[in-house]
Symmetry: D2
Subunit: 438 residues, 4 copies
C-alpha cells in the first residue's frame, strides 16, 4: 500500500521501528536470545550460539519471507527456515537447534513487544514535549483573556493560559497512562506450541527466565498468546492519546479560523490554488489521528475473544491494527509537539473577540451579582430578558443599566466592574498553578 | 509500515492499483485530462496539451513528493509543482496552464476514483469466482447430509449443498451491492477551490463535462468534496463483503476443526513446530478481514461530518482508511475464491457427525410427527424428557420407543423413518435450486 | 437503562415502533400470519386461526416475557409459551398449532423486519422534509454571498444557496439509498430450525409464499437467518444517513459560532447558568448521532460472521445495535428537518465575514486573472507574497495595486471587479439549479 | 427503546444504578452536596441547606424532565428548575441558592461519576467471582488432559486446569485494570460555566474542596469537562473486560459444541422448536458483549476531541455510550461468574477427544524427541511425512514405528511414553501454580 503519506501523518523515528527490516530483525533477536537462553540452561550446546548469532546478522530477503508467509500463514515459519539454512551453511550441527522449544507465536508476539519497546518511549517523549510546550503557553498567557466557549458559543471569559493548562494536564496524564500500559504490556511471550512449553520438558520455566533476561523483558505469570488484554490495553492507551491530541488539535483549528484568528501555526500548510492559504497543518494531523484511532482500537478489542490456544482471524487482525495505531498516535504526538512549541498567539485578537458580542459574555457575571439580591432564578430571568435586547448598536451594559429592576440592585460602578473580563475569572490563576504543579 | 503481510492478507492485482506509483500516476492522469478538457473548451491553448502529457510520462520521485506533502498538507501540491517544473523544461508557456482551474481535492478525489475503478472490478471478479465455486459445491453436495448447527449445537439435518447455496446466494448479493455502490460512487470530482469552479469563470460546467468524458467518468449533479456519502457507501459495501466472506470463513474454520473434520483446505497453512498441522489458511484470511473491516468502515462514517467546504481531519483520515479497506476486502475475496474452488470435502465424516449425538438431532422430527397427534406443546415436552435420558449407550430411538405415550402414537416403522436424515430435509432441494437459479 | 434522553435525541414516532409492546406485537403478528398461512395451505385446520388471532390481541406481560427470555435465551420462547397458554384457554385444540413449523429466529427476524417497515419510511420522510427545507434555503439564498471555507480558513466566496444545495443533494441521495437498502432488506425470514423448513415436510415453500403474502413481505430466494448482509447493509445506510446529517449539523454549528453568527436556530438550547446562551440544539442532535452511528454500524458488520446455521453472540449483538441505530438516525433526521425548516439566516453578517479578511478571500481571483498573463505558477507566487503583506489597516486590494508587476498586468477597473464576490462565483448558480433539478 | 432484553444481557444490580430515577437521584445528590459545601464555606446561608435537601427527597416526574431536556438540551436544566420550584414552595429564600455557582455539566458529569461509583464495584465483584470460579476449575482440573488447539486444530495436549488458569489470570488482570481506571476516573467535576468557577469569585477552590468531601469524591488537579480522557480510559477498561469475557465465552461455546462436548452449562438455553437443545447461554451473553463493546469504546474515543470548553455532539454521544458500555460489561461479568461457578465438565470426553486424531496430537512430542538425534529441521520433516500417512485405521504410533529412520532413533518404550499425554505437558503444573499464586 502507498506509504507516501507517512511523512505527513507519521513519525519517522517510530516508523523506523516498524519497517519490514525492523520487524525481521526483532524476530531474529528473539531467535538469538532463545539460543543463548537454551544454552545457558543446558538444553542445547553452547557451541550453537555463535553460528546462530552470526547467521542472524544477515538480512533475509523481505520479498521471499513475505511470499513464504503467504503460503505458511505467518512470518515466523519462513524466517525460521531461512535462518536454519543460513546456520546450516555455517555449522550444520548448530542448525539443529534453531527455534528449539518455541512456536511461531512466541517469536511474533515477543518481536512485536521489542518493536513496541522502541516505539512507545518515542511517543512518550513527543507527548512530554507537547505537554512542556503547553505548560510554557500556560505560563506566558496566564492572564491573556479570551472568550470561553461552550457549544461553540461564547460562555464566560477565560484565559489562554487556562486552556493551555488543560492541554498540559491532560497530555501529561495520557502520557503516564501510556507508560503504565506499556510497562504492563511489554513482557515476554513464551509458551511453545500450546502454552505448556512441553518441548522443553521440565526445563521450560528455566529457559523462560533466561530468555527474559537475555531480552531484558519481564516474564509474565502466564503466557499470554491467547489472552490479548495487555496489548488491547496498550492499544486503548494509544487511542486515548490520539483522542486527547485530537482535542488539542480541534481547539487549535477552531482558534485558527479566519473569523477567530487567535492563533496561527508557525509552519502552516498551503493550497494548490489559493495563494493566501495558511492551513492549520499540525492540528489536522492530530485530528486525522483522532478519527483513525477509534476504529483501530475497536479492531483490537473485537479480536480479543480468540479461539482456544490461538486465534483464527483475531490474532491476525491485530498484526495490522496495532502497528498502525502506534504510527497514528506517534504522528499526532509529533505534530502537536512541533505545533505547540512554535505556536503563534494573537492576544489582541483574543480580547477583540471577547468584546465582540455586545457584552453578552458578561451575562453570567451580571446574573451572579444580581442573584445575591434577587435569587438565582429571578436573576437569570432578568438578565436573559436583557440579553434578548442586545443587538447591533445595543450593548448589554446599556440594556441592563436601563432595566429598572437591575439598575436598582447594581450600581454603575458595580456594572463597570462586571463588564471587565479580569473581574470574572474566578479561580483561573489558581487552577493554572495547580495544574502546572504536577 | 511493514508490508510483509500483503501477500498473505491482500490481493496482488488490487495492491498494484494502490502503490505509491499508481497513486501518482492516477493523479497525473487527472492533470493531463484536465489540460485536454480545458483546451477542448478553449480555456487554454491546445499547444499546452502535448508538453503536459509528455511531462506526465515521467515518474516523479516518491520520496520527494512525500516530503513535499509533509510540508504542504497533501500530495497534490508537490506533485503539481513537480509537474509544472517538468513541463516548464519542455515548454515554458505550457507550464502556465498546469492544474488550471482545479484544486488539490479535485486531483486527489478523482485520482482515488480512478484507482477504485481499477480495483473494484477485480474484487467483484474474485467474488464471482467464490460464488461460482460455492454454486459448484451446492450442486455436487445437494444430497450430502450433515448436521445443521445452531448456537454451535446440533439442530436438525441439513445438506452441505444447502450451506454452500447460502454462501453462493449471499456472496452473489454482496457482489451486486458492491457493483452498484461502485457505479454510484465512481464519479468525477471537480469543484475548484471552494466548489464554485470560479477560476473557470462561466466555463466551469463545460470543462467539467469535457473532463468527465476524457476520464470516462460520469459527472455528478453536484461536486462532492464536502459530502462523502458516496465513498462512505462504497466503503460500507466493502465492509459487508468482508463480513460475508468472514461468515464463509467462519463456517469453514469450524468445519475444519479436528473433532469435526468435514472439510479441509487444499493448501493449508503450517506450524513452525507441529509437524501434523494443516491450518485453515484461507478461512483465516477471510476472518481476519472481517475483524479489520468494521473499524475501517467506522472511520469512514465518523469522518463524514466535514467542516464547510473541506474537512479538517476527517477527509485526511479517509486517505488511509479507504485504500486499506479495499485491500482487506480484496484479500478476503481472493482467499475465499481460491479456497472454495479447491475445497476438500469429507461426506462420510459429515454423516458420522450427524449420527454422533445418539439420535438427538432427530428430536424435532419426532416431536413434529408427534405434534400431529398430541399438539406441539405436549410433543415438545415429551421429546425433551426423552432427550434427557439419552447418553452413552442409550440412543433417542430406543428411549422414545420405550416411552408408552410416544410409542402409542408412532409406530416402529414411523420411527425408523424419522431417524433417517433424508426424511427430514424439508425444502432443502427446492431451496438450493431456487438459490442457484439467480 | 435510562430513556430520559429519548425525546432529545430520538424521534417519537420511530420510538413507538420499538417499544417493548411494539416488539411483542410484531412477534404476535408473525404468529397469527403463520397460522393463517398454514391453514391456507392446509397444514393446520382453519379452525385454529381464530383462537390464535384472538389470543394474540391480549398484551403479554413484558416483565414476564423478559424474565423468560433471560432463562431461555430469546424473546420468542416465552412469548410462544405465553401465547400457547392463552390459546389453550380459548380452544385447547387450536393451541396444538401455535408456532407450527417455525423457529424462534423466524419470529424474531421477521418481527424486526415488520418494525423496520414502520420505522424506515418515517425516517425517509424526515429526510425528505430536511431536503425540502434545504432546497428552500438554496432557492432563497442562491445569491447570498458568504465565505467558502476549507480547512476552516477562508477560501473563495460561495453563496449560502450553494451550501444548502449541497445539503439538499446529499440528503436526497442518502434518503434514496436508505429506501433501496430497506426494500432489499425488508423480506420475510422463514426457515425453521436449521433453514430447511423440515417440520413442514414438502409444504415449506407453499407456506412461505402464503406467509409472505399474509404479512405483505417479499419472499427471498433463500432464508437469511445465517447471512446478515441485508440487515448490515440497511444498518450501513442508516450510518451514512447519520454521517450526512452530522455534516449538515457541523456546518450549522460552525456558522452559529458567536464569531461567525451567520445563522441561528429558531429553537435553541439554553444554559443552566448563562442567561445569554442560545445553543445550536438541532445541530448537536445531528452531530451526536454522527458520533454514535459508526460504532453501531461496526458492531453490525463485526457480527456478520455467524456460526453455521445460527450465530453465537453476533446475532444477539444485532438485537441491540440495529434498533439503536434506527433511533439514532431517526433523531438526527427529525432534528435536521425541524432545524432547517425554521433556520434563521443573517445575510448581512455573511457579507461582513466575507469582507473581514482584508481581501485575502479574493487572492485566488487575483491570481487567476494574473495567470492569464504570467502563468499559474508565477501568479500564485506573486499573490502569495502580496498576501503576506496584508494586515490590520492593509487590504490586499491596496497591496496588489502597489505591486508593480501585478499592477502592470491588472488595471484598477479589473481589480475593482476582482474584489467583488459576485464576480467570482463561477458556476454557483448553475450548480444550484442542477442540484435542485433532481 | 425496548428493554425486554435487559435481564438476559444485563446485570440487575448495575441496571438499578442506571435507571432514570437513579440518574435523577444522583443529580439531586450533587445539588444537595453543593448547597452544603456552599454553606460550609459561607457562600450561602446555612438555612438554605435543609429546604434544598428536603425538596430533593421528592422524585421529579421523569417524563416532564425528559420533555424539558428535549427543549433545553440537557437534563440538568429542567431538573434544576423543578428543584428550584420545589424549594421555593418550602422556603422562597432558599430557592435563591439552588445550583449556585455550578453549571449543567458539573451536575451531569459528577452524577455520572456517582452512578459509576456504584456500578463499577459490582462489576469488579462479578469479575472476582468469575476469577474465583476459574481458579477452582484450575485446581480441580490441573491434571485433566484435553487437546490444546491452535487455529481450531489439535496442537499438543494441555490440561483443562491450564485453560482455566489462563481465564483466572486474565480475568484477575482486567479486574485490577478496571479498578485502577475507575479510581483515576471517579473524581469530582466542578468548573462552572467555562471552567473558571467565576460565579464563586475567589471562593471556587474552597467550595470545590468542600463539595468533594461532601460527595466523597477526590478533587482533580483541573476540571475535566473538556478533557474526557479519564472516562474514555474507564470505557476502554470496560471494553477490555468485555473482550476478555468474550474470550472465555468463546472457549466455552467451542467446548460445548456437540462434536466436542467437553463442557456444558448448568443452566442452558432452550429452543422454541428443538426439544434436545441445551444452548450455551452464558457463553453467548459474554460473546454478545464482546461484539457490542468495541463499537461503544470507539464512540467514546471518537468523541474525545471536544470543542473548546464544552463539546458539540461528542459529549452528548458519551451520555448514551458509556452507560450502555457499563451494562454490556456488567452483563457479561454476571453471566461468566454464574456460568463458570456451575460449569459441568466432562473429563472423559476430553480424553476421548485427545485420542481422536490417530495420534497426530503427539506429532510434536515425537519430533522433539527425534530432534535431539537428527536436528529440529530433519525431525520436523520426518514426522510431517509420517503424519500424512495417518488415516482411518492407521495411527501415528504405528506409522512412526514402521518408519526405519524414526524407529532407529526411538525405541518402542520411548514411543510408548511419547504417546501418553501426561508425558508431554511440560510446565503445565508449574504454570497453573504460578498463575494461581497471584
Amino acid at each position: 500500500m502507498s506509504d507516501l503519506l507517512d511523512p505527513l501523518f507519521g513519525d519517522p523515528e517510530v516508523a523506523s521501528a516498524f519497517t519490514a527490516e525492523a520487524q525481521l530483525r526483532a524476530m531474529l533477536e528473539f531467535e538469538v536470545a532463545l539460543a543463548r537462553a537454551l544454552a545457558e540452561v543446558g538444553v542445547i550446546p553452547s557451541a550453537a550460539i555463535e553460528p546462530i548469532a552470526r547467521a542472524s546478522q544477515a538480512s533475509p530477503d523481505p520479498a521471499a519471507i513475505a511470499a513464504g508467509a503467504a503460503r505458511a500463514g505467518n512470518l515466523a515459519i519462513p524466517l525460521v527456515e531461512d535462518l536454519t539454512a543460513r546456520v546450516a551453511a555455517l555449522d550444520p550441527d548448530a542448525a539443529r537447534y534453531v527455534h528449539w522449544g518455541a512456536t511461531s507465536q512466541d517469536v511474533l508476539d515477543t518481536a512485536l513487544v521489542l518493536q513496541l519497546r522502541t516505539a512507545v518511549p518515542i511517543i512518550a517523549g513527543r507527548l512530554a514535549a507537547a505537554a512542556e510546550a503547553a505548560a510554557g503557553l500556560a505560563r506566558r498567557h496566564a492572564d491573556t483573556v479570551l472568550p470561553g466557549r461552550t457549544w461553540l458559543q461564547h460562555a464566560t471569559p477565560v484565559t489562554f493560559g487556562l486552556k493551555a493548562a488543560g492541554w498540559f494536564d491532560a497530555s501529561s496524564r495520557v502520557r503516564s497512562r501510556l507508560e503504565s500500559a506499556s510497562s504492563a504490556a511489554l513482557v515476554l511471550q513464551f509458551g511453545g506450541a500450546a502454552g505448556t512449553l512441553a518441548a522443553l520438558g521440565e526445563r521450560g520455566l528455566e529457559v523462560e527466565t533466561a530468555l527474559g533476561r537475555c531480552l531484558g523483558l519481564p516474564v509474565p505469570r502466564f503466557p499470554w498468546h491467547a489472552h490479548r488484554d495487555r496489548l488491547a490495553d496498550l492499544g486503548c492507551a494509544l487511542g486515548v492519546v490520539a483522542g486527547e491530541l485530537g482535542k488539542i488539535g480541534r481547539d487549535l483549528a477552531l482558534m485558527a479560523q479566519t473569523e477567530v484568528a487567535e492563533i496561527a501555526e508557525a509552519a502552516p500548510g498551503r493550497s494548490s490554488t489559493m495563494p493566501q492559504k495558511r492551513n492549520p497543518l499540525g492540528a489536522v494531523v492530530a485530528l486525522a489521528a483522532s478519527y483513525r484511532a477509534p476504529g483501530l482500537v475497536a479492531t483490537l478489542l473485537a479480536a480479543m475473544p480468540e479461539e482456544h490456544e490461538r486465534g483464527i482471524g483475531g490474532w491476525q487482525a491485530e498484526w495490522a491494527a496495532l502497528p498502525e495505531l502506534v504510527q497514528v498516535a506517534a504522528g499526532a504526538a509529533r505534530a502537536m509537539a512541533e505545533t505547540l512549541a512554535s505556536l503563534v498567539v494573537f492576544p489582541e485578537r483574543m480580547r477583540v473577540n471577547l468584546e465582540s458580542s455586545g457584552g453578552l459574555i458578561y451575562a453570567e457575571a451580571v446574573a451572579t451579582a444580581l442573584a445575591a439580591a434577587v435569587g438565582k432564578g429571578r436573576a437569570h430571568a432578568l438578565v436573559a430578558a436583557a440579553c434578548r435586547q442586545v443587538g447591533p448598536g445595543r450593548h448589554l451594559r446599556e440594556v441592563v443599566q436601563q432595566d429598572p429592576e437591575i439598575a436598582s440592585r447594581l450600581s454603575a460602578e458595580q456594572l463597570d466592574a462586571l463588564f471587565r473580563p479580569e473581574s470574572y475569572l474566578g479561580s483561573t490563576k489558581a487552577l493554572i498553578d495547580r495544574a502546572l504543579s504536577r
